[in-house]
Amino acid sequence: MTTVRTAVGESKTMILNMGPQHPSTHGVLRVVLELDGETVVKARPDIGYLHTGIEKSGEALTYSQAITLTDRLDYLAPLSNNLCYCLAVEKLLAIEPPPRAKYVRVLLTELTRIASHLVWVGSHAIDLGAMSVFLYCFREREEILNIFEMVSGQRMMTSYFRIGGLALEPPPGWLDRVDHFLRIFPSRLAEYENLLTENRIWLARTKGVGVISAENAIALGVTGPVLRSTGVAYDVRRAFPYSGYEEFQFDIPTSTDGDCYARYLLRVAEMRESVKIVRQAMEKLPAEGPIKADAPGIVPPQREKMKTEMEALIYHFKIFTEGFAPPPGEVYQAIESPRGELGFFVASDGSPKPYRMKVRAPSFVNLQALPMLVEGRLLADVVACIGTIDIILGEVDR
């Protein structure tokens, strides 16, 4: 507690504990707030309540087994995590997935981005008091999760991308489902915008709230929509393309306002861009072709071959009993997850288990900017600012 000098004399500040059980902290974030009346003097995020030691667990599993851990980091964008990890291990092994697998990966990760942004728009709106948007957003998200279930068998913990390609051949008719979604989605997006974009309460709660400058954002390592809201067009898909993104035409929406409202508009615009990318991926996707790289000893052989070829049977047995050993070395692979730059640093010592698997979680880094966004503002704005960073505690605490 400290004494602060105000216009009407001296006053004492108060410490207020927000979270870890608080509906607007999106999980188990605790923020220790120092308040002067209703103004936030100081904010200190306290994290770690969801720490499960994912990085340590990864060191005890084989490279293929560790994929299942990645789903549990950012549980709103499991396919982005799968993709980033698989790309990192593929870089370590110097193998390349076939084109068909690449386009399916791009298609599904962009759908993941839409699903994740939908949860964000919905939950951010509910935080600020707009209940109905939440229900609409979850309706469309459900459709995307149905596509994931159709393709991988799982709605959320997909583990669908594997080292060297995909787990399964996508089922017939799945592209019709995607096409159907793409046809209805733009009009649904217009519906949410009708509810929010020019809503006076929404504007009052978000416009000019949580402003950050480009210089400060870069210094704090902030990436993703929060950085782009300050006018810096840094998107890993464009800056360091991966998985064939250099072939796609899309815009990187930016704004120079740097406030919560700008970040809302950017995420809506990003969903539109993702729709464009999914369309292009559908057009580029070859109808026939392998979905796994030709890398014996790393990628499990086809079931048919196992019945006729001795070698395939041996590889199958070896991959699932002891795994495969990449050459010693370290790689860092970054992708643009819905929240910013997601990176995997994978170190190999030549054994079948990762020597070190470090996750560069965008939420963890972006959360550091919270004190800068809220200090000097009202207590009610803290809720808007936590929401606008779009944190997922699963990947903050790992």
């Binding site: 005890a60 010693p328 370290e330 990176g343 880094v365 550091q368």
Partner: protein
């Protein structure tokens, strides 16, 4: 895996050498990524140079990763992943820290984002950072004993 340092054409390495020849101990090129190994005492200076020099402009520190090379000495490895948004380049700095004196200079004054990364490494590896504004545990409770990401810390069971 390891290229001879003096034939490496990487302009970042050349610039760093021009700034201080002793700052580059080794250059590792692997899978298209460049790792510059820097002696511990030059870390802070090199960080400032890389962040400020306009032709390099590594303003974004994307990540710091600790690695425990137990039982090899120097035991700990700190990897700094830098991004230059203006030039579209990535580079990795590596500093090796021995077990008997697990201390490195903090780069938080250069890149404020290093604050939480360094706290995480302190929390999970027990490497201390000199000049850090608030070096406390970040993920584990304050009264936790041991450093879980060290290789001599078991994955399962009691210690």
């Amino acid at each position: 895996m390891t290229e001879k340092a003096d034939v490496d054409p990487n302009p970042i390495v050349t610039k760093l050498r021009d700034w201080e020849p002793r700052a580059v101990a080794e250059v590792i090129a692997f899978r298209g990524e460049t790792t510059i190994v820097i002696p511990r005492e030059f870390l802070r200076g090199a960080a400032e140079y890389l962040a400020v020099a306009p032709e390099l402009d590594f303003k974004l520190l994307s990540d710091i990763t600790g690695v425990d090379r137990f039982p090899v000495e120097p035991r700990f490895e700190l990897n700094y992943h830098l991004v230059s948004i203006t030039h579209g380049v990535r580079v990795r700095l590596r500093v090796r820290v021995p077990e008997i004196d697990p201390v490195a200079e903090s780069v938080t004054p250069v890149w404020p984002t290093a604050n939480w990364h360094e706290r995480e490494i302190f929390d999970l590896f027990g490497v201390r950072f000199e000049g850090h504004p608030d070096l406390t545990r970040i993920l584990l409770p304050d009264n936790w004993e041991g450093y879980p990401l060290r290789k001599d810390y078991p994955t399962e069971g009691s210690r």
